[in-house]
Structures are given as structure tokens and as C-alpha cells.
């Protein structure tokens, strides 16, 4: 197994293990399909889809100053997904994650921001999430 293949296999531990850093993730495709279980070696399983969630990230503000902002970024193992969100998909995908890293945190729904970032060489896909709010009916 070469180094890249080994790194991809290690994602099962470093990215997806719910006893380590893995957090439950649920995707909703533009056609309404809910993806919450993972694929293993191309075969669908009943195992919960998990990935790594970073709740805060750094953005550069208008004055050029890096600012910590609350904007979740989800990293998933590409080979665990039956479908991969594409930047061209419309309407956008939805993504459900725990509100915080705490056990029993409420599940919140975000939209997947365009574009997604594909880490082809390391077998990951990174989803940048954006806030979704209930529309107010006038």
C-alpha cells in the first residue's frame, strides 16, 4: 500500500471514528435523498456517517485583519459517500451536524456553500456550511 492509499485508509480512524474526532453528519441531496450512513469498500452499510467538524474558522476582514468566525467546516471521507456534493449542484445540498461538540447537542441544519473543496489526493471532501434561516411569510 503506498503512502497516499495508507493515508486514505487511516481516515477511518482519524476522521470517522465516533469515539475519537468523528461527529455524526447527515447530508440531504438536491433531490431530497438523505445520506446518513457510510459506504465501506463501495458497499452500503448501516454505520452512521461521521466526519470531522471544525466549528470556527479564520476569515480576513475588510481591513485585512484575520478574524475568528463561527462558520462550520465539515470534512468527510470521500469513499464513505454514496454521492459527493458538487459545486454545480442546484439547489444546494443541506448538511445536518450537532450544534456543538458536546454529547447530546441539538442537531442543526446548514446549507452547503458553494464551492466545496475536494481533496482528491487525500480522499477527503470539505464542505463549507452557511447559515439557513426560516423565511418569514409577509
Amino acid at each position: 500500500m503506498n503512502l497516499r492509499a495508507q493515508a486514505e485508509a487511516d481516515l477511518a480512524t482519524t476522521l470517522e471514528d465516533p469515539t475519537l474526532f468523528g461527529m455524526p453528519v447527515e447530508l440531504v441531496s438536491p433531490d431530497g435523498e438523505v445520506i446518513n450512513t457510510k459506504m465501506v469498500d463501495g458497499i452500503a452499510t448501516t454505520e452512521q456517517l461521521c466526519g470531522q467538524v471544525h466549528y470556527d474558522s479564520i476569515e480576513t476582514d475588510d481591513a485585512g485583519i484575520p478574524t475568528i468566525i463561527h462558520k462550520p467546516v465539515v470534512t468527510l471521507r470521500r469513499s464513505s459517500l454514496s454521492r459527493v456534493p458538487l459545486p454545480t449542484d442546484r439547489p444546494r445540498w443541506a448538511c445536518r451536524i450537532p450544534e456543538s461538540p458536546l454529547v447530546d447537542a441539538d442537531i442543526v441544519t446548514f446549507l452547503v456553500e458553494n464551492p466545496t473543496e475536494g481533496g482528491g489526493s487525500l480522499g477527503i471532501v470539505r464542505l463549507y456550511l452557511t447559515r439557513a434561516e426560516q423565511a418569514v411569510t409577509p
Binding site: 438536491p30 431530497g32 476582514d61 481591513a63 439547489p91 447559515r131 439557513a132 426560516q134 418569514v136
Partner: protein
């Protein structure tokens, strides 16, 4: 007595603040940075600040009033998140068709923010150009009829979880500034005291002349 352009800015802030009616928040200065959460939804912000003025020489004198062509910038900001049928999207009992319909119902945050800023620009323009505010609260005869020359928009920019649109209105008018003069503080009270303090506290070596007249550095006086 302060110059009129300062009173004018405060007066515009007051006019906008009274007319805001919860639709936006008025700030009387240019903020260093604003969190998107501060300007999201109904808390759109309007910042009023003096950006510059001109004093046409032909319209003033040292002995009388000086005409001041004032430019006041009114900055507008609106932040929005994507909005749609979140209730259906989060309902686990929804069918795939209902999920798909819910996803299709979302309007992009940039679109929402753009609409929100247009609405804010509309409101602020109508308030400031309202005939009842012709004197901008300064009293009749104190300010020439003002004019909003342009409405610029910038963005959208992502700021955290929100998308922000900003814009500005440039309001110009002419006020008459009174020349009352300012003599400052008499020199013997300030400069004299400083010099006395220097003489009293400075060590001799510090005060010594490093190059007394007649001696050149590295050379001999001819």
C-alpha cells in the same frame, strides 16, 4: 460655539434615529468594524459621518461668515443568511420530495442582502429628501437645500455565516460658518512653563552643546 457642520451631522443622526422605527440602527460615526450579527435582519446599520468640506474663497471672508460646502456620507449595511422553508428541511418525517421542495425554496443570502440594502437605501433617501426635512433640523436659513448626489453599492461580501451588502449615500449642502476666531492659550502660560521645566530638570551633560562653535568634528579649527 461649534462649527455648523458638526451640528449638522448630529442633526442628521437625530432625524434618521427618530424615523428609523426599528427598521435600522443609526450610528453617528464611522465604526472600526461591525459584526455581521449586529447588522443582520432588522438591525441594519446606518452610519453618518462628515467626510469633508470645501470653503470656496469667493464665498467667504476673514471678516464675515464663510460658506462651507459640506459632504456627509451615510453608510448603509445589511446582512442576511439564506432563507427558505427550514421547518420542512429539518422535519425528519418529510419525504424526499418535500426535502427537495424545501431546498428549492431557499433564496441565496446575497440576493436577500441585496434586496435588504435596496430597501434600506430607499427608506433613508426618502427620510433625508423629505420636504419636511429641508433644513435638516438646523432651522430655516441655516442650511442650503441639501442634495443626495449618489447611491453606491458594494459587495456582496461573506462575513462569517452571513452575507453583507454595503452602500453609501453622499449628501451635500452648504452651511454658513461663523468666524469667531480662536486665540488659543497665551504663550507665556504654556511655552514658558515647558522651557522652565526643561532648564530645571535637564542634567548638565545632556544640555551641553555637542558641537561648540569653532570646533569641527574630527578636525582642528583653522
Amino acid at each position: 460655539m461649534t462649527m455648523k457642520f458638526r451640528t449638522l451631522k448630529a442633526s442628521i443622526v437625530a432625524i434618521l434615529g427618530l424615523a428609523a422605527a426599528g427598521r435600522f440602527r443609526v450610528v453617528g460615526y464611522k465604526q472600526r468594524g461591525v459584526a455581521a450579527e449586529e447588522i443582520v435582519g432588522q438591525l441594519r446599520t446606518v452610519q453618518v459621518f462628515f467626510t469633508g468640506g470645501k470653503f470656496p474663497k469667493a464665498a467667504g471672508s476673514h471678516l464675515g461668515p464663510v460658506m462651507h460646502d459640506v459632504t456627509i456620507k451615510v453608510d448603509l449595511s445589511a446582512a442576511k443568511a439564506a432563507e427558505g422553508d427550514l421547518v420542512a428541511l429539518t422535519d425528519p418525517s418529510s419525504t424526499p420530495a418535500e426535502f427537495a421542495a424545501a431546498l428549492s425554496s431557499f433564496r441565496e443570502a446575497a440576493d436577500m442582502a441585496d434586496d435588504s440594502l435596496d430597501e434600506l437605501g430607499d427608506i433613508v433617501f426618502q427620510i433625508l429628501m423629505d420636504g419636511r426635512n429641508l433644513d435638516l433640523g438646523m432651522g430655516a436659513g441655516n442650511v442650503s437645500p441639501h442634495w443626495i448626489e449618489n447611491f453606491d453599492k458594494q459587495g456582496p461580501t461573506a462575513r462569517g455565516e452571513y452575507v453583507v451588502m454595503s452602500g453609501s449615500l453622499d449628501l451635500t449642502c452648504r452651511v454658513s460658518e461663523e468666524l469667531l476666531g480662536d486665540a488659543g492659550v497665551a504663550a507665556d502660560h504654556v511655552l514658558g512653563a515647558v522651557l522652565a521645566d526643561v532648564e530645571t530638570n535637564m542634567p548638565d551633560s545632556v544640555g551641553a552643546d555637542p558641537a561648540p562653535a569653532g570646533i569641527r568634528a574630527g578636525g582642528i579649527t583653522p
